[in-house]
Amino acid sequence: MAKAATKKATTVATLSVERRPALAGRTTSAPAVKIEVLPPAERISLRAPEASVAALSKALGVTLPKKPKTSASKAGRTALWLGPDEWLVIDEAGNDPLADCAGVSALHSAVGISHRNVAIAVTGAGAAATINAGCPQDLSLDAFPVGACSRTILGKTEIVLSRNAADAFRVECWRSFSDYVFTFLSEGSRDAAV
């Protein structure tokens, strides 16, 4: 009896617990566009009234933007304006923004969504055209300048789009939609004329 139990425990211990991120290693290149999956990052969904913004900005180390469609970045941490009292905070430096918010006593709601989202980088001269294959927003530099960000749609899914450079976008989508989004962007990149 004891022997059998030992044997069973050994089997369990050797089971693979390797973490497999969605879309790991997937990348696509078209003549004018490169689409690649970005490494995992820490993210929070932050909701807070006007009165709490200053305290949260101080705790996070990045000033939460108050103007629609804008973002603020500092030391690997980006705060994206999503709505009048809603932000998406992405930390790519490995620090946990959720822990930073925990010490703030001002009214707010911070929810960790690091594993909910997958980020895809779309870069190259045809990046805007690729995203416009499924996103109806005006992505010209006048309407969507560098640093602009917005929740919007791509095909049938909701995404958060931000522009890091004139020809570089970051697409944040829900993990379960990531296969669809990546495939959609790959198809779009084949049509992207420059």
């Binding site: 629609p68 469609k69 999503l82 709505g83 009048p84 809603e86 109806p136 927003q137 917005s150 929740r151 919007t152 749609i153 909701e158």
Partner: protein, 103 residues
């Protein structure tokens, strides 16, 4: 595609980001349990459904996710103006021109 001005995003955005949310300015009674069946029916089911100008609630679902109100012409399908939720019905509507929609 229609461009709808979101009063919270302060710009015109494509209609695919929006959802209609029914007629606006329908006040729920403070004492809903005390309503007569007729009054409740009026509040709950009966909508004006006009031909022409209608005040509607819209939601910028795939944007800032906020509800707002819009004045729309049901004949031409043009948005005449939009304003934030909670604001009173606009007493005067702007002139509709062909260049400017949903301002």
């Amino acid at each position: 595609m229609l461009l709808i001005r979101c009063p919270y995003c302060e710009e015109e955005r494509p209609e695919l980001e929006f959802r209609n949310a029914g007629e606006a300015h329908i006040a729920r009674s403070a004492n809903i349990a005390g309503e007569s069946d007729d009054d409740f029916e009026k509040f709950f089911f009966i909508r004006s459904n006009p031909k022409g100008i209608i005040h509607e609630r819209w939601r910028h679902m795939h944007g800032c996710a906020r509800f707002f109100n819009a004045v729309r012409d049901t004949v031409t399908d043009k948005f005449i103006m939009t304003y934030k939720a909670g604001e009173p019905k606009p007493s005067k509507l702007p002139e509709i021109s062909n260049e400017v929609v949903a301002k």
